[in-house]
Amino acid sequence: MANIKIDSQAYNDLKISGKILRNILENLKKSVKIGTNLLEIENFVDKTICEQYATASFKGYDGFPSSVCLSVNDTIVHGIPFDYCIKSGDLVSIDLGIIYNDMFTDGAITLNFSQDNQDKILCQATQKALNNAIKIIKPGVKTGDIGNIIAQTAEQAKLKVIQDLSGHGTGKAVHEKPTIYNFGVKNHGIEIKSGDVLAIEPMFSLKSEKIINKNKWSIKTKNNDKSAHFEHTVIVTQNGVEIIT
């Protein structure tokens, strides 16, 4: 688990890495529209990361072919960009990882191009679960507490939590310990300490709790229903958390 001291060089690098990621995602939020090709997004991300002297952490990770994960509708995560133009009614999840001076950050957003009320609730509830989880994190909180609040938010919105996927520690590698499941029992699990770098990522779907993985990468919902995914990298401080993406 990456544990960094506030005001150290690693902390500053991590903040720059987070800033690059945040800027890219905010740019994409404004520029991606109905009709945008997924390959255009991939090119834009590639170009922007190179301009900022950073590296995409997903490219080449265990053989992953692209810099950004673009997951459309029933694809939950790890979608590989392909020749596809975004249509009305799509949910597009953009997941991005940045390395700056060997410090890793991870962030994701889901863009809603659908007018359907259910899809709107799905995106809002997932975002709310992430915010709720971030609010309760402070030193001494356990991973079960984080999972429990995420699961409760899903239950309130009558949505399903994807059980097989989880949040994780990050900072000095793409995935580190601890594993932060999106469900759990209060006061159980690994204790969070000050200085820990965590990637919290609630993933909800309309009906499926289980996944299917037909090729090595793209993970889809079992019932082919839509899913949403939001993610932030946070540093745990003495009093709470600092969101860096």
Binding site: D164, L165, T179, V185, H188, I211
Partner: protein
């Protein structure tokens, strides 16, 4: 234990350990220990490295589970 307090996750057997214990890599990349369930032993279901298995966990400990099926 009530059914609500268990959860089943899918994984791949990475290593076979003594006493029908296996190291399993879950879909999220986490390595966990899985012990063969009674029904699997009773029916002589063989599990080897590389097999996809269903592992049942208690919500109170998500690092050790019971291998309940080979898929």
């Amino acid at each position: 234990m009530s059914k609500k307090e268990v959860i089943t996750l899918e994984g791949v057997v990475e290593e076979s350990l003594p006493n029908t214990i296996f190291r399993v890599i879950l879909e999220n990349g986490q390595k966990v220990l899985g012990i063969l369930s009674g029904k699997m032993r009773k029916n002589y279901i063989k599990v080897t490295v590389g097999d996809r298995v269903l592992v049942e966990f208690s919500l109170y400990n998500l690092t050790k589970g019971r291998i309940i099926r080979r898929i």
